[in-house]
């Protein structure tokens, strides 16, 4: 297969075309949408989703899930927000936030990989604990009055009207993608998710790989929490609620299979943009934001059902091909293959 063909056939390309089609349809209905500012706004608002979704993608690659990312994000946002409010050094506050994310990741990884607890259940537990710790830390109050420079930094643009945050996120996604596909250790994640037993047999340390995946997920959610803090400007006790579900949805939209071992982080990033732009696009289509959840649900279900049906057809076709190869002579099979 030529490189161009391979590029077009990649799973995440279909989600990219879906995003493109979404923009074009909205543009056809309301031409006012197709301006640089509107389109870049769709990307800029997706930065928090992108980071959480890429983190979640690691958990999904290894065939597990992490539903504690939302509370992780909220807890880090609360801690970093209150540190900055009290006049702490930026570097110190960010380091604390990222360390918290790392520790959460290690705990989740320990529970799932070492203790072999089903990931959904373990991370559901840590989700509750983190959410409660967030209430305790903030005393149930909002974290407000963040330094103005910190809040304003979120609207600084770098390339065109894309913010610094989004450009950094894109750079990060590209680097992670390169590491995942071009390095030996990077490919471990996909290998473990595809076939944990087989990976173990060929000498891949599956436990370490799983813990590493959860650590990356925790750190990326922590970074997302810091950016959330800067973009929104305040943290409530419900901040980050539901992000875990949106991140899973973004991964699924980006062509990542929830059974593990299939997909790319670029897909997750594209899925995150789709998730984030839906409410923005609905405004241009003339719908109220009440339609937000219903449309998200319909898109999510449609995509996964269509994907499952297509996969099933492919399996059936392959089975027929194998059967034909066994029962026919070589020449006949060649004929049939044509």
């Amino acid at each position: 297969m030529s490189a161009a063909k391979k590029f077009l056939k990649a799973r995440e390309m279909s989600s990219f075309f879906f995003l493109l089609a979404l923009f074009l349809i909205v543009g056809a209905i309301n031409p006012k949408f197709l301006t640089g500012t509107n389109i870049s706004a769709c990307f800029n608002t997706s930065v928090v989703y992108t980071l959480v979704a890429v983190g979640m993608a690691f958990a999904i690659f290894i065939g597990e899930i992490d539903v504690s990312v939302g509370s992780n994000l909220g807890f880090v946002a609360t801690v970093v927000g209150s540190l900055l409010r009290d006049g702490a050094n930026w570097g110190f506050a960010f380091t604390v936030g990222i360390l918290i994310g790392l520790i959460i990741g290690i705990i989740n990884g320990w529970g799932v990989a070492v203790m072999k607890v089903p990931s959904l259940i373990f991370t559901l537990g840590t989700n509750g604990i983190l959410r409660g710790m967030m209430y305790i830390y903030a005393g149930g109050a909002w974290v407000e009055n963040l330094p103005k420079e910190f809040k304003d930094f979120s609207s600084v643009t770098l390339v065109g009207s894309f913010t610094v945050y989004y450009c950094c996120a894109v750079l990060l996604v590209v680097i992670i993608h390169a590491l995942l596909t071009r390095t030996r250790r990077g490919r471990y994640f996909i290998a473990v998710g595809d076939n944990a037993g087989g990976a173990e047999l060929v000498g891949i340390p599956s436990v370490q790989t799983k813990v590493a995946a959860y650590m990356i997920c925790g750190v990326l959610s922590a970074v997302a929490g810091i950016i959330f803090c800067s973009r929104i400007g305040f943290v409530t006790s419900a901040s980050g609620n539901g992000y875990e579900m949106k991140a899973v949805a973004a991964c699924v939209l980006g062509g990542i299979s929830l059974s593990g071992g299939v997909g790319t982080v670029i897909g997750a990033a594209i899925g995150a943009v789709i998730m984030a732009s839906i409410s923005y696009l609905l405004v241009f289509m003339g719908f109220s934001s009440n339609y937000d959840n219903a449309i998200t649900g319909i898109i999510l279900i449609t995509i996964v059902v269509a994907d499952a049906l297509m996969q099933r057809r492919a399996t059936v076709r392959n089975r027929h091909a194998r059967l034909a190869a066994r029962t026919m002579s070589a020449e006949e099979a060649k004929e049939a293959a044509k």
């Binding site: 373990f122 149930g140 949805a249 959840n293 998200t296 649900g297 099933r312």
Partner: protein, 343 residues
């Protein structure tokens, strides 16, 4: 063989009973109010929704699936009742029937995608939770009342469901829960259908080859859990006296915790109604006792429940770990030798 098979489930249920007794002892000794029957029975109103839904989500988990859309179906039921009654001129019972039918259809839709299209249950019910909570919001915009206010002013006979007390003390909802739990127990542990659910959970292919319509069995469990969510929606609407579209949000974690704590295997094939019911009651009492006896803010309650969940699953995984079992056995035999030496 039979005794071997039965023993683990029995001991797990014993552990849950022990947990309940411990809660009673600790909370009771801290604050005697906790042991007042009237207060205790009334507190059940607040966690009955967890109990009813988790009992039926057990069915889904035994088939190897998961259902995280039930919480949004609770809200959809509630707002459907309100809007159908207030704005479409249905009688209250017609509205209830309509809401239950809609909930069953929602469950059937998700179940269809999971069973017949082979999509992972987690993804479909995740989409379902978006879709049905979104639908609930859209239904609420059909009403003349602002959605954040909720629809209230229901007739007395509807409120009667939760106001009536059997023998003057037991709230009628508890009777509903007990009846449903017994029905679920009979359905799962005493009927052919229940055996089929277990077999599908252990090995769907084997079930299919032995002539079980496994797809239909899987789909039916989602209908059951959706209907139980609808019943909860009716009870909550009647109890609170208002129909709201976001009723039941935040229940998901408690429900899954109850089912897992009840000894149901999340990979399917194992679980019991009694275990889930006991676990759900234990969680409910924890939610009731912590604020009453230790002045814990209700918003912090996610911590003890999360800790409970993590400790239980880690403990169980330790207990089933061969290395740990061997160590314990060694330690035990060492003790015996010491004893023998001492004698």
């Amino acid at each position: 063989m039979k005794s071997l098979k039965k023993r683990p489930a029995f001991s797990w249920n014993m552990f849950l009973v022990l947990l309940l007794v411990m809660e009673f002892v600790i909370f009771g000794s801290k604050n005697a109010k906790f042991l007042r029957p009237a207060l205790l029975l009334n507190s059940a109103n607040d966690f009955l929704s967890i109990c009813i839904i988790s009992v039926f989500v057990t069915f889904v988990m035994i088939t190897g699936g998961i259902d995280i859309q039930v919480a949004s179906i609770v809200g959809l039921t509630s707002i459907t009742i309100g809007v159908a009654w207030q704005d479409f001129g249905f009688s209250i019972w017609q509205a209830v029937a309509l809401a239950v039918v809609i909930a069953a259809l929602c469950g059937a839709l998700s179940g269809f995608f999971i069973a017949y299209c082979g999509v992972q249950a987690m993804v479909v019910t995740l989409g379902g939770s978006f879709l049905y909570s979104g639908l609930a919001l859209l239904v609420s915009t059909l009403s003349s009342t602002e959605s954040y206010q909720g629809i209230s002013g229901f007739p007395e006979e509807f409120k009667w469901i939760t106001k009536y007390k059997v023998f003057g003390v037991i709230p009628f909802q508890i009777v509903i829960f007990l009846v449903l739990a017994v029905l679920a127990y009979l359905l799962l542990h005493r009927t052919k259908y229940g055996r089929k659910i277990f077999l599908v959970g252990v090995n769907q292919q084997a079930a299919e080859y032995s002539g079980i319509n496994s797809r239909w069995v899987i789909m039916s469990t989602y209908i059951l859990s959706a209907v139980s969510a609808a019943v909860t929606g009716v009870i909550l609407t009647s109890y609170l006296g208002t129909a709201k579209s976001d009723l039941g949000s935040g229940l998901t974690m408690n429900i899954i915790t109850a089912v897992v704590l009840g000894g149901t295997l999340s990979t399917g094939g194992k679980g019991s109604i009694l275990g889930t019911a006991l676990a759900a009651i234990a969680i409910g009492l924890l939610r009731f006792g912590m604020p009453l006896c230790f002045k814990v803010n209700t918003q912090y309650l996610d911590i003890p429940i999360g800790v409970l969940l993590v400790v239980v699953v880690v403990g169980r995984s330790l207990a089933s770990n061969p290395a740990v079992i061997a160590k314990v056995a060694k330690w035990r035999s060492g003790m015996k030798k010491d004893k023998a030496a001492a004698q």
